[in-house]
Each structure stands twice: as structure tokens, then as C-alpha cells.
């Protein structure tokens, strides 16, 4: 903190002081439910009310959208969102519910929408008055995003939209969707156009939102059917046929690689002293408490060997993130590209080892009182496929690594 403060510009320094003061008295009380860790987890009206109130309050105080121009509802500051984010994290604030809007829609609108549209959409987006969702993936367009088939047909200065989007977080609460649609079937990449489309106002008419159930039995994603949704041409971003390029802006900001800092808060409910020591390595703890034929599992050398393999990977990932910043020792890009593959495969493999440690007890779900570690591991294993599949499958990650870091020929 002190280190960061040292490098502040005068504007940042002032703003940091302001934030700290405001936060000292304005962080809301913890909710009655278990605090959420991401806006994508918002599932009930109760969640929504609590977190929207917080976003609104932070927005009104100027902590959301600090770097956006004032005419779009922003704070008109320079590189101050970073400061607000740091201070909110320190103050252990609740999370923002409007993550898709703040992190993906806002920068895309900012860089690609017409002036009028920016003035119309951004203020309510920043305040949380209107929530957003993302309509990119389709049943037939997963890894190959550019193959989206949801079609927007031009009718004068209107567009008629038909199609099917999937894997949409919080669509049930969204007023708007950022939508990648096909406008020309003869050209894969140049046949795409980017729109913002109303969802909430069209529900039960030309738009259907259905919850998707995950492999774990939990909800959290939706799918949307568009059956002749008619929208104004004014809701188009950038030119017809430029959808792919606009989508790249969205994805860059999703990955944190965009030029605008996403407003982010959080930290609420995080435990004061999380055991991050090596002796506190979760699989080691688990092996110590589980038995294998009535002996402690950690004393089985084959189990211990696997636990240590995972520990080497876990520590390795931490050091990998440390090394990538050291010029002369690591190429940043080569390391950064590996991060998703490394961490998602680690989580999956660690959960698989946990199930091996648990043996028969690994059959028990989180709702069984006899389940070790409260049954988190079977669920963790199932959930892990979300990460190895979403946002570029592990297979796609290896393509990217081979192509961008090693210069191999494209596999597609």
C-alpha cells in the first residue's frame, strides 16, 4: 500500500485520500447470506438488491467509472479507477453486480459506439441502474467464436434478429446484452456485426431467457432465444461487418489486457488469516485427515508422492507468476499465455488427487455430513471442467501457446 502510494500522481494521491475517507464510513454491513465473490454469482433478488445498492452508493461517491469522461457519467479522472479499486479491496467492500457491463460492455461501447449511444447507455451502466449480459457463445460456436450463426437481417434502418445464445451469466437480470451477430453468411470474419440489444423489455415477446443447469446441478448460466427481435440501427456498434474487431476489444478487456481499467471492488467476507503456508497445503491437510485402509492417507508413500507432485505445481504456478515480471529471466508474453492452462489444469488435477485421497468418502456430496472437507472436492472436480472448457479450452490454449510463443503453423 505504502509502496503503491509512493508512485501516485498528485491527482491519484488526492483521490486515494478521498476514497479512504469515504470508505471509512460507507462500507455496508455484511449481508444475511454468504457474501458472493463475483458478480457472475448473483442468483437471487436478495443478492441483487444488496449489491445494486452498493454499486449505486459507490458510483454516487465517484468510485465507479472514475476514468470515464463526465459526459458519459464518469468521473473524468486519469488512471484513478486503479486507486479506487485498490482502496475498495483494502476496505473489504462487497462486489459489484454489474461485472459484464463494467468490464466488457463499457469499454466496448466507449471505443466503438456512436456519441449519442454512449451518452444514453454508459451512465446507467456505471451506476448499475441497468445490468448487462454478453451474447457471444452459441451452441454451434464455442471454441470457434467466429462461426456464430445468430442472424441480424437488415430491414431499412431496423434489424431483425433470430438465433440462440448460450453460456450467459446473469442474463435473467440484464436490461441489455452485447451481441455478436452474423450479417453476411458468405464471409466468416467480415460477416459479423456487433449490437447492443434490449433483453428485459423484450422478455416474453421476442426474447426468451432460460437458465442452464451445470454439471454440478447448480445454475449460473442462461441461454437466450431470439425470435424476430427488431432493433434500431442506432444500436449497432461500429460498421456493419466489423463485429469481429469490436469483439476483440471486448475480449481484451475481459482478459484484463484492455486499455481501460475495469471498476472492481471486493474483499468482503474474505477470511482474515487464510493459511497459505506449505504445511497448510489443502491436499496435505486432507491426506492427514483421511484414512486409507484405516491408516492416515498421508503416510501412504504413493499418495504422498501425488500430494507432493501437486504441491510442486501449486508453488510453481506462484513462482511462474513471479518470474514472468523479471526481464532478463523471462519473456513476459510467453509466460502470460501459459497462465490459464497452468492454473485451470492444476485445479482439475488437484481435485482428482483429492478424490483419490478420499477414496470411498469421495462419493459423498457437499450435502452429506460425513464428507471430508465438507464435500468440496467432488464439486471442485466437476466445476473444474468449466474452467478447462470456458474462455478457450485447454486444447485451444495449447494451440495459442504453440502458435504465439513458438511460432508454429496455425492448426485451424
Amino acid at each position: 500500500m505504502t509502496e503503491k502510494a509512493k508512485r501516485d500522481t498528485p491527482e491519484q494521491e488526492d483521490f486515494r485520500r478521498y476514497c479512504r475517507e469515504w470508505l471509512a464510513t460507507n462500507v455496508p454491513k455484511p449481508p444475511n447470506f454468504k457474501p458472493l465473490k463475483s458478480g457472475a454469482e448473483v442468483a437471487t433478488e436478495e443478492h441483487l438488491a444488496y449489491y445494486l445498492a452498493w454499486q449505486r452508493s459507490a458510483y454516487d461517491a465517484g468510485l465507479v467509472g472514475c476514468d470515464y469522461p463526465t459526459e458519459y457519467g464518469g468521473g473524468g479522472r486519469t488512471r484513478c479507477q486503479l486507486v479506487a479499486n485498490q482502496e475498495m479491496l483494502l476496505a473489504k467492500t462487497p462486489i459489484f453486480p454489474g461485472v459484464i457491463g463494467l468490464g466488457m460492455a463499457a469499454p466496448t461501447i466507449y471505443f466503438h459506439a456512436a456519441e449519442e449511444l454512449k451518452r444514453r447507455l454508459l451512465p446507467k451502466l456505471l451506476s448499475g441502474e441497468e445490468l448487462w449480459c454478453q451474447g457471444f457463445s452459441e451452441p454451434g460456436a464455442g471454441s470457434d467464436l467466429a462461426s456464430v450463426q445468430t442472424f441480424a437481417e437488415r430491414k431499412g434502418d431496423k434489424w431483425l434478429i433470430n438465433g440462440h445464445k448460450i453460456w450467459t451469466s446473469t442474463a435473467q437480470f440484464a436490461t441489455w446484452m452485447i451481441l455478436l451477430a452474423r450479417t453476411d453468411r458468405s464471409d466468416k470474419y467480415n460477416g459479423l456485426t456487433y449490437f447492443v440489444v434490449p433483453i428485459k423489455s423484450e422478455l416474453g415477446k421476442s426474447v426468451t431467457v432460460r437458465p442452464l443447469i451445470k454439471i454440478t446441478g447448480e445454475t449460473g448460466f442462461n441461454e437466450e432465444l431470439f425470435d424476430g427481435l427488431e432493433i434500431d440501427d442506432a444500436l449497432r456498434l461500429d460498421d456493419v461487418g466489423k463485429g469481429w474487431q469490436v469483439a476483440m476489444t471486448t475480449l481484451a478487456h475481459e482478459r484484463g489486457a484492455g486499455s481501460l481499467t475495469t471498476p472492481m471492488s471486493g474483499g468482503q467476507g474474505s477470511e482474515e488469516k487464510r493459511d497459505t503456508s506449505i504445511a497448510g497445503f489443502p491436499l496435505l491437510k486432507l491426506a492427514q485427515q483421511c484414512t486409507r485402509n484405516n491408516k492416515p492417507a498421508d503416510q501412504d508413500p504413493v499418495i504422498s508422492d501425488k500430494v507432493m507432485q501437486m504441491l510442486v505445481r501449486q508453488v510453481g504456478i506462484k513462482q511462474h507468476r513471479r518470474l514472468r515480471g523479471v526481464s532478463g529471466l523471462a519473456e513476459y508474453q510467453r509466460f502470460a499465455l501459459q497462465d490459464k492452462l497452468l492454473s485451470t489444469e492444476y485445479v482439475q488435477d488437484a481435485a482428482a488427487v483429492a478424490l483419490e485421497i478420499e477414496g470411498p468418502s469421495g462419493t459423498l456430496s457437499n450435502f452429506d455430513k460425513h464428507a471430508p472437507d465438507n464435500g468440496k472436492w467432488p464439486l471442485a472436480y466437476l466445476s473444474s471442467f468449466g474452467s478447462t472448457i470456458a474462455a478457450g479450452t485447454s486444447e485451444i490454449q495449447r494451440n495459442i501457446l504453440g502458435e504465439r510463443a513458438l511460432g508454429l503453423a496455425k492448426s485451424k
Binding site: 457463445s137 451452441p139 454451434g140 464455442g142 471454441s143 470457434d144 462461426s147 448460450i166 453460456w167 442452464l212 443447469i213 451445470k214 454439471i215 454440478t216 446441478g217 447448480e218 483421511c290 484414512t291 486409507r292 485402509n293 484405516n294 501412504d300 504413493v302 499418495i303 482439475q348 482428482a352 478424490l355 483419490e356 478420499e358 477414496g359 470411498p360 468418502s361 469421495g362 462419493t363 459423498l364 456430496s365 457437499n366 450435502f367 452429506d368 460425513h370 467432488p378 464439486l379 472436480y381 466437476l382 471442467f385 468449466g386 478447462t388 472448457i389 470456458a390 479450452t393 485447454s394 486444447e395 495449447r398 494451440n399 492448426s411 485451424k412
Partner: protein, 390 residues
């Protein structure tokens, strides 16, 4: 072992004769017609609330048809009124049931029938008669820690009363009887207990596998009669050891069948799904894991039939081979289950897909009768023990 000294030479074809083939063919058709994957999904995956993971989801009418086909008594010797099929034939039957991920107590009942046959006394034969009459059984022996050994039961038999708790009992809500491993004076005894006996509490676990149920049984001074004790004094461990290879092959057969379903379903998806203007199967990142999965399945199946054949022809090698088979089946299942979900991409992550049902069943099966590392540890012990004979 020279050729001349062995009475029964293991046949090159595993003893897979016309009867066995007929049984396998009937089972294949039966499950294809009566339990295709979409029907299975309707049966076990209507409710996605994990909180209801203790529910017992099965089709009793289908089970009655299985009883009527006589499959419960497939492994029971003819002298005890059964079909007396070879272990190879039974494996082929169970492989088909596994391919359908059958939610029913077929494996527990077949397993109990092997244990009871090995007991070889009148009480045991009476229990076998119950199976021949269509009653289902499940063997209960595990400690709270989930021990895979036969001598770790925490149920006590004292003065003809059962006391204590036994864990990880398979399909406990479905079966009519439990075959309980209880300790009398520190020695295991095997006791047949009706599932509805007074003083016995069946506590369902909340589990991940949608095609099974599992429970722990609490015995509170449950009075039993001598006729319920099916193992002669000091003979329970021997009977259990004799039945162990069969218990292992039953689970392996189920896993091999399930794995073949996973392979074919994923290959089918790879043949039809398009990405980047190509069928998924074009990409070696899809093709090669599927090839490796197929190889792993076929290795596991080769072990499975070798183990089953050894039960029939070379019982002295049966445990070693059966443990090899379980190790191979576990390795195939863990690799293949993961790939079956991963290669389905987004749809594989949804509840509406069928692949998760098999993933969850395989995870459960992997823990039954010991995981791969445990089998290999036992193998090493067997080889060391029997160095000269193996």
C-alpha cells in the same frame, strides 16, 4: 507351472462359449431397447438438486424384468438352484449393464451370490435360494474410513446380537437383504439381515453418483438367529478371499461397459460437431485422446476377461489378475471420463448432457473394491508372497 501339472488349462478363448455369447447378446439387446441414454437421463437426472442426492432413483419394473430373466442367479451354482454360468459369461452380462449405467442392485446381488457360494453351507445355500427367488442383496463390510479390507468391519456380533455401524453400503435402499460382515470375538462372520429388520437403521448418504444409492447401516442390539449366520466359524475370510476376484471383475465389467459408452458417445460427437469448418475429429487434440482412451479400454477388457477366465480355470491366479483388471479399469475410466466431458466442450458441462451421468458413475466405481494404487500394492504383496508359484 508346466502344462502337464495343470488339470484345467485356461482356454485361449477365455471359455467364452455359445452360452456366454447368447447371454451377452440378450443383455446387449435388452439394455439397448429398455434403457437408452435419454431414458436413463429421465430416470435419474430429472432432479438436479444435489441436496436430494440421497434419493433412490430406479425403475422397479425394469428390475423385475431382469429378475425374470434369471440374471440374479447367473453366477449361482446349479446345485444351489442357479444358472451356474461361468465368470466370463457373467462379466459379459455385467459389461452390458454397465454400458447402460443400470441403476439397480445387479452388481451387489451378483457379488453377494459369489460370497455365499464360497461359504458353502446350508445357511448360505438358503440365502442363495432367496436370490434365485428374485431377492436382492448387498454386502456390507466397510469401516467409516472406507477400508477395502475384509477384516475391518466395525459391526460386532455378540450373543446373537449385532451392534455397530457399517459404511458405504451400495444400493442399500434398493436391496431386500444385507450380507453383513460382523466381528465375533475379533473374527469376521457373515450374517444375512433383512433390510427391514427391526433395530436396523438404513441411513442414505447424499452422493454424487446419480445411478446408485449408498448408505450406512446402524445396528442397535439387533437380534439374529443362528440360521442367519452363513459362514462357518473361522471360514468367513477364506470365503471372502475366494470371492474377491469375482467382486473385482463385476466392478471392472461395469466400468468397461460404461467406458465404451463414453468412448462411442464422444466419438459420435467428434464425428458430427463442427468447429473451424471441420469435424472435431479432424483435430489430433480430439482424435488422439480418443484413440488412447480406446486402447485403455481394450487393455482393461483384456484384463477383465483374463481375470474372469482365471476364476473359472486358474483360481490360484484369479486374485492377481483381477487386481490387474481393476487397476487397468480405473486408469481407463479416470482418463476417459475426463476426456468425455472435456471433448464435449460447453455442452459437456451441462446437466442436460448425458456424459456427466457416466462420469459420476465411473468416479464412484473407481472407489469400489480399492483404487488403482491399492490394487498395485496388493499385486506386489501377492507376487512377493507367492514368488515361486506365480
Amino acid at each position: 507351472m508346466s502344462e502337464s501339472t495343470t488339470a484345467l488349462q485356461a482356454p485361449k478363448d477365455f471359455g467364452f462359449n455359445a452360452d456366454a455369447l447368447a447371454l451377452k447378446d440378450i443383455a446387449e439387446t435388452f439394455f439397448r431397447e429398455n434403457l437408452p441414454a435419454h431414458q436413463l437421463h429421465q430416470l435419474v437426472a430429472q432432479d438436479s438438486n444435489l441436496q436430494n442426492g440421497s434419493a433412490c432413483r430406479w425403475d422397479k419394473n425394469l428390475w423385475q424384468r431382469i429378475i425374470d430373466l434369471g440374471w440374479l442367479m447367473a453366477a449361482i451354482p446349479k446345485r444351489a438352484g442357479g444358472m451356474g454360468m461361468s465368470a466370463v459369461a457373467v462379466a459379459a452380462l455385467v459389461e452390458q449393464a454397465g454400458r447402460a449405467a443400470l441403476p439397480a442392485p445387479l452388481i451387489p446381488t451378483l457379488g453377494a451370490s459369489y460370497i455365499l457360494s464360497a461359504c458353502g453351507n446350508d445357511n448360505a445355500d438358503k440365502a442363495l435360494n432367496l436370490i434365485c427367488e428374485g431377492k436382492s442383496f448387498s454386502y456390507a463390510a466397510s469401516s467409516q474410513g472406507g477400508s477395502w479390507e475384509h477384516t475391518d468391519s466395525e459391526v460386532i456380533l455378540e450373543g446373537n446380537k449385532l451392534t455397530g455401524t457399517v459404511f458405504f453400503v451400495q444400493d442399500a435402499q434398493k436391496v431386500d437383504y444385507f450380507l453383513v460382515n460382523a466381528k465375533q470375538d475379533g473374527e469376521p462372520r457373515l450374517v444375512v439381515v433383512p433390510a427391514n429388520l427391526h433395530g436396523l437403521r438404513v441411513n442414505p448418504n447424499t452422493i454424487i453418483d446419480l445411478t446408485r444409492d449408498q448408505a450406512y447401516l446402524e445396528f442397535d442390539q439387533v437380534a439374529i438367529e443362528n440360521s442367519q449366520i452363513v459362514s462357518d466359524p473361522g471360514q468367513a475370510v477364506a470365503a471372502l478371499e475366494e470371492a474377491t476376484p469375482a467382486l473385482l471383475t463385476l466392478v471392472c465389467a461395469d466400468m468397461c461397459g460404461a467406458a465404451e459408452w463414453q468412448l462411442q458417445t464422444t466419438a459420435d460427437y467428434a464425428r458430427t460437431r463442427k468447429q473451424f469448418d471441420r469435424n472435431l475429429g479432424f483435430f489430433q487434440a480430439v482424435k488422439h485422446p480418443l484413440a488412447d482412451f480406446m486402447v485403455a479400454i481394450d487393455l482393461a477388457r483384456s484384463h477383465l476377461y483374463n481375470a474372469a477366465c482365471a476364476i473359472d480355470y486358474e483360481p490360484e491366479f484369479a486374485e492377481l489378475y483381477a487386481r490387474m483388471a481393476k487397476a487397468a479399469a480405473n486408469d481407463a475410466a479416470s482418463y476417459g471420463s475426463k476426456k468425455s466431458v472435456q471433448l464435449h466442450g460447453g455442452i459437456g458441462f451441462t446437466w442436460e448432457s448425458f456424459v456427466h451421468i457416466y462420469l459420476k458413475r465411473q468416479l464412484h466405481s473407481q472407489s469400489l473394491c480399492g483404487d488403482a494404487a491399492y490394487q498395485r500394492q496388493k499385486m506386489a504383496e501377492l507376487i512377493t508372497k507367492g514368488e515361486k508359484n506365480i
